[in-house]
């Protein structure tokens, strides 16, 4: 691959193309060649009547995604599996070392810490976010004037994300001049050192994550407004009180939305990187209390240049996320209610009756 690019760039150099443009032009030439091959193959298949014209059109239309998938997702997945059995620092040739990377991972105390930090964060922050955003959405579903203003205010913090949010909260939780401890001081309490205290740092990041529940809140609000009024009216005629309405109508009706948010929220929480990186510049917080998994992977790959070990870490991460997602999917059968499954039930009941 590298050789082809090198020779293409040499060719472009002879054509007096600007140095900065040579890499991208080489890539464009390569991709154009791939695309031409795909088109020719499909055209041949249509001529030979193996596939219809529509099928050929479909595959040409989706070819950008397929090429992108092979280049940036599928190919790299396979490649990183191969790399994970090697020892490579990007400079010397890669050396095959069998499962040594995975063995090392099993007894790596830093990795243990990274998994602990990441899972704790995901398992604590996702349920808290879910409860808070759903509660706020329920409040906002009440008919009062000016509800749009509230919606805007609650959503606004979601716009301060990534580095800007981390920088802001480093100062909000500054032990001496910060907002949090300033507020506690008004009540005569001396607050903890927050991000600078190994016992508090992760809890502080959880609080930070709660500040941006506005996005989820809007999703829940849309879900709540899809619930038919008839259900509530029928239940009220039967004498149900507010709690029964909430537990037996509202929650089951929005449960697919909750499920969607829990799955995406979990994956998102597992990917946390910026907070750990920014708080103690690429350090992982006090006593590694903010050593998130992705941060540890990043350090191994791009600070220590251990590409083989980082690839093994990536695969372990992949398996962890798959297991976690599978668990949530399995569990969902017990609490997620889908409207589309109802008619079958009803039919059965009629049959029995």
């Amino acid at each position: 691959m590298s050789d082809i690019v090198q020779s293409l760039e040499g060719l472009l150099e002879r054509l007096h193309i600007d140095v900065g443009l040579r890499p991208i032009l080489s890539l464009v030439i390569l991709l154009a060649a791939v695309f031409a091959v795909i088109c020719a193959a499909l055209w041949g298949a249509v001529r030979a009547r193996w596939i219809s014209r529509n099928t050929a059109a479909f595959w040409i239309f989706v070819s950008p995604w397929i090429v992108g998938f092979l280049l940036f997702t599928g190919g790299p997945m396979v490649y990183s599996l191969v790399l994970s059995f090697t020892n490579w620092n990007l400079i010397d040739p890669a050396k095959f070392i069998g499962i040594a990377n995975y063995k090392e991972a099993l007894s790596d105390p830093d990795l243990g810490q990274a998994i602990k930090v990441t899972l704790t964060y995901a398992v604590v922050s996702v349920p808290l976010q879910t409860v808070l955003s759903l509660a706020v959405a329920l409040l906002m579903n009440v008919k009062v004037r000016g509800i749009h203003v509230f919606r805007t205010i609650w959503y606004l913090p979601s716009l301060v994300t990534g580095v800007a949010q981390a920088v802001l909260f480093i100062w909000v939780f500054n032990p001496s001049y910060g907002l949090a401890n300033g507020l506690l001081r008004l009540f005569g309490i001396e607050g903890p050192k927050w991000l600078f205290d190994a016992h508090w740092a992760l809890a502080t990041v959880v609080i930070m994550s709660l500040w941006t529940v506005g996005g989820n809140m809007i999703i829940y609000l849309a879900g709540l407004q899809d619930i038919s009024k008839d259900l509530y009216e029928a239940a009220e005629l039967d004498g149900a009180n507010r709690w029964r309405l909430l537990w037996n109508i509202t929650i089951p009706q929005v449960s697919p939305v909750i499920f969607f948010n829990v799955v995406t929220g979990l994956i998102y929480a597992m990917q946390t990187f910026t907070q750990g990186y920014v708080v103690t510049h690429n350090g992982g917080g006090p006593a590694d209390s903010l050593l998130f998994y992705v941060l540890y992977l990043y350090q191994n790959a791009f600070s220590f240049f251990r590409m083989g070990y980082a690839s093994a870490l990536a695969w372990i991460f992949f398996v962890m996320i798959m297991v976690l997602t599978a668990l949530v999917f399995r569990g969902s059968a017990f609490w997620v209610y889908y409207e589309s499954q109802r008619p079958r039930e009803r039919r059965r009941r009629v049959h029995v009756g």
Partner: protein, 300 residues
């Protein structure tokens, strides 16, 4: 092309801001319940917006003012020069240009490519379409961090380290999530349009470009805004690929600023505010579409 004349009647039923009106939702609460809800909302709103206001107030203080300011929102000194000083302490305009380049190009690229692929999944009947769509959806569960090491090696072989290309190039191949959104959107448009155009002899590309793309305004705005916000704040990829000052983006610069000038709070807050500003501005311009887009992405 008679179909496009119908365009105004084909409203996007899905991308629309949820309002308190409409069929759904619990019925009117009794007065006591409403007062309680509003009280909770007001208290919560203050709590949520306070750090944001405090950020603005801190950005206008002198360093000494920070140690006396505490929880107060009133900057005792209105120090507007923090903004010029903060921005003057690093090559702001170069970083801004890099940030804009690495955001605007991906926005345009991802909108077109995802729309094209989403259209194929929604409208062209072909063998293997269902299986392929399942594969597209399954990649949604795959975090990009898993493939970051080989991707880095790929871009290293392509000679693209320390340029914006590794951030820009992948967006030309569509994003699985947006492909899904476009497919759902196109499935709700009347299929008769496609049939009419096919009978008139239009090719699939023409049907996409002249009929479906012009009708996609709501979903284009929603996806463009989502893409803008995520790439404007993109930190992970920037931290990996951009190593020298020449191509650094604003979030990367802000992170570096935090570690160097970590003690000068007002300057830091002023810079953070400037970095956040485009997203806030965009939100107020396209609020309806953003809220609609977010609801659409979540409630399927």
């Amino acid at each position: 092309m008679s179909a496009s004349a119908k365009a105004p009647t084909v409203k996007a039923p899905t991308v629309k801001a949820p309002t308190a009106k409409g069929a759904g939702g619990p019925r009117r609460e009794p007065l006591g319940g409403r007062i309680l809800a509003v009280t909770l909302l007001v208290v919560g709103s203050i709590g949520f917006v306070y750090p944001f206001l405090w950020m603005i107030a801190t950005a206008l203080r002198t360093p000494e003012g920070v140690s006396h300011g505490g929880v107060s929102l009133w900057p005792i000194q209105w120090r507007w020069s923090n903004f010029t000083d903060g921005l003057g302490s690093f090559p702001f305009w170069a970083y801004l240009r890099n940030s804009l380049l690495s955001t605007i190009v991906p926005v345009v690229a991802v909108v077109f490519s995802s729309s094209l692929v989403g259209f194929a999944f929604a409208r062209i009947r072909a063998r293997g379409s269902g299986v392929l769509f399942a594969i597209v959806l399954s990649t949604l569960l795959l975090p990009q961090e898993v493939t970051i090491v080989p991707q880095f090696i790929l871009f290293k072989n392509l000679d693209m380290i320390d340029t914006l290309w590794p951030i820009i190039v992948p967006t030309f191949f569509g994003s699985a999530f947006f492909i899904f959104l476009y497919r759902q959107f196109y499935l709700r448009l009347p299929e008769a349009m496609t049939d009419a155009a096919l009978i008139d002899g239009a090719g699939w590309f023409r049907i996409w470009f002249s009929i479906y793309l012009p009708l996609s305004r709501p979903i284009i705005i929603a996806t463009a805004v989502l893409q803008f916000m995520s790439y404007w704040n993109n930190f992970f990829q920037a931290a990996i690929y951009l190593t020298t000052d020449r191509w650094k983006t604003l979030p990367l610069a802000l992170a570096g600023f935090q570690s160097v000038n970590g003690t000068n709070t007002p300057l830091l807050m002023a810079t953070a505010l400037v970095v956040t500003f485009p997203c806030v501005l965009l939100f107020f311009i396209a609020q309806r579409h953003i809220i609609g887009g977010i609801s659409f992405t979540g409630s399927k």
